[in-house]
């Protein structure tokens, strides 16, 4: 039994997944996390460092890491890459001016070796705002089709109303589960 098999077996027993939530600042990462966990969202402050939440969903234990997106924090993102099963990239679909910035950061991130194999879910957030880009448009703008190294999916959502959050997370969990829990 190799080391990876042991790791896999251990995770299988716990049904545990490590999920990293990243994106530019003001994208709504913390709001997504809190909304998903059923907490109040109108008292959220900009994230100074990071938030960790462990939550149960569909029998899985999800370790969610939400790291602040400010420019000065982005260089610390790499400290969180180890053992990541899933990556949630959150986009403010209404902030068109920074979409280019958003695209660049995402593609830099995906080159990271320690994230290889992680499933990527792109949340096109803030769809409750008028003028928000659709997930189809974002797929082009963010050049998602170019991604060949990760399983990916883009899902529109609104963290404020909670719409579509669940279907996004469910896709992510299914994809991760198919990868790490069914192999033996």
């Amino acid at each position: 039994m190799g080391f990876l098999t042991v790791l896999r077996k251990m995770k299988q027993k716990e049904k545990e997944m490590r999920i990293l939530i990243l994106g530019l600042d003001n994208a709504g990462k913390t709001t997504i996390l809190k909304r998903f966990n059923g907490e109040e969202i109108d008292t959220i402050s900009p994230t100074l460092g990071f938030n960790i939440k462990t939550l149960e969903h569909r029998g899985y234990k999800l370790n969610m890491w939400d790291v602040g997106g400010q420019k000065s924090l982005r260089s610390y993102w790499r400290n969180y890459f180890e053992c990541t099963d899933g990556l949630i990239w959150v986009v403010d679909s209404a902030d068109k001016r920074r979409l280019e910035d958003c695209r660049a950061e995402l593609h830099v991130l995906l080159k990271e070796e320690r994230l290889a194999g992680a499933t990527l879910l792109v949340f096109a957030n803030k769809q409750d705002l008028p003028g928000a880009c659709s997930s189809e448009e974002l797929k082009d703008i963010l050049e998602l089709e170019k991604i060949k190294t990760h399983h990916w999916q883009i899902v529109w959502c609104s963290a404020v109303t909670g719409q579509n959050l669940l279907s996004g997370i469910d896709w992510l969990i299914n994809d991760i589960a198919a990868r790490i829990f069914t192999l033996d």
Binding site: N26, T43, K71, T161
Partner: protein, 338 residues
């Protein structure tokens, strides 16, 4: 001596009796707890609770059809919270459930949430859509769709509609102007202020968010913003703003009259002076209620500077604006020329 001995025995007896009573009591409590736990951890109990909760959510969903439209947003919010809670309950109970039960529960949960989504799309069409429709003078379209009875088509139509209209709300590339955005124009919108110089912008009402970029010598007066304000590259400006979060980047010489209900952050900023929000206009209290901001919670001094992580020494990049230097009457205020 005997007297002493007697007294000693008496006390020992008393203590022993108490000890016994205490132990019995603990045992009794433990027993109760065990019974309680077992009661909650069996399938019958779970099924009963689950069905009851499910019924409750279904009733809520049905009542949304006859509800006052102003309450609908909160109502759906509550429903989705309830669904989420139920989901958590299933997740917590899956230890003692059969695989089949879990499957059935998930199925009904999925049905509930899709039903909620459908209903919400049906009875609570996106606000901007309704507003646009009026200005475009095309009410018949809505009727057509209703006749077809395809709730989904309506949504698809709505989305395409938005993408065609860029829905830009705000101002860009202006010099030396005084501009006013009225209530109906900004309600729940993303307001953009970009490349402005020597302008006075007044925003009444409750935008969802404001983006400011490259403002120079400007005065921005705004009603309460329900989520965040994002400002970048502002120099020599006065911002009179109320919001849930403020994020200020790469700006300098800005005076902010701030009402913030959570916290504000700044990054790469210099010479920022902060004062409490003091803009007053008719209907402001109502706007605060509409925006969901608490008018009595103002953390205007809670500012985190990303370039100054020392909590003991005040950041050199911002300070509190002295009271005598504050502007108190914005209606009679004019920008210093030059």
């Amino acid at each position: 001596m005997d007297f002493m001995q007697e007294r000693c025995d008496k006390i020992t007896n008393l203590l022993n009796r108490r000890e016994l009573e205490r132990k019995l009591d603990i045992e009794k409590k433990r027993e109760n707890k065990r019974q309680g736990l077992a009661e909650h951890e069996n399938i019958d109990f779970f099924e009963k609770t689950f069905t009851a909760k499910k019924l409750e959510i279904e009733n809520d969903l049905n009542s949304s059809l006859t509800m006052d439209s102003s309450k609908l947003a909160n109502h759906f919010d509550m429903i989705s919270k309830n669904i989420l809670n139920l989901q958590k309950y299933v997740a917590a109970s899956n230890l003692f459930l059969r695989t089949y039960d879990i499957k059935v529960c998930h199925q009904s949960l999925q049905e509930l949430s899709s039903k909620a989504r459908e209903l919400e799309e049906k009875v609570l069409p996106k606000k901007k859509f309704g507003f646009k429709k009026k200005t475009m003078k095309s009410p018949p379209k809505h009727e057509d769709i209703k006749l077809n009875g395809h709730a989904k088509d309506e949504v698809d139509f709505c989305r395409r509609f938005i993408n065609l209209n860029d829905n830009f709300c705000g101002y860009e590339n202006k010099i030396n102007e005084t501009l006013v955005l009225e209530n109906s124009k900004v309600f729940k919108k993303d307001v953009t202020l970009k490349d402005l110089e020597c302008c006075v912008i007044k925003i009444y009402g409750t935008p969802s968010t404001i983006h400011m970029n490259h403002l120079k010598n400007c005065l921005i007066l705004s009603g309460p913003v329900s989520t965040s304000i994002f400002a970048e590259n502002c120099t020599n400006c006065k911002l009179v703003i109320a919001c849930q979060q403020l994020r200020l980047h790469s700006s300098s010489d800005v005076h902010i009259y701030l009402h913030v209900t959570s916290r504000a952050i700044m990054e790469d900023c210099k010479r920022i002076l902060i004062a409490p929000y003091n803009y007053k206009y008719d209907g402001m209290e109502d706007d605060f209620i509409k925006s969901g901001l608490d008018i009595n919670t103002n953390n205007w001094t809670s500012i985190d500077d990303f370039n100054w992580l020392n909590t003991e020494i005040q950041s050199p990049n911002w300070n509190i604006l002295k009271e005598i230097e504050r502007v108190n009457d914005w209606n009679n205020f004019s920008l210093p020329s030059g």
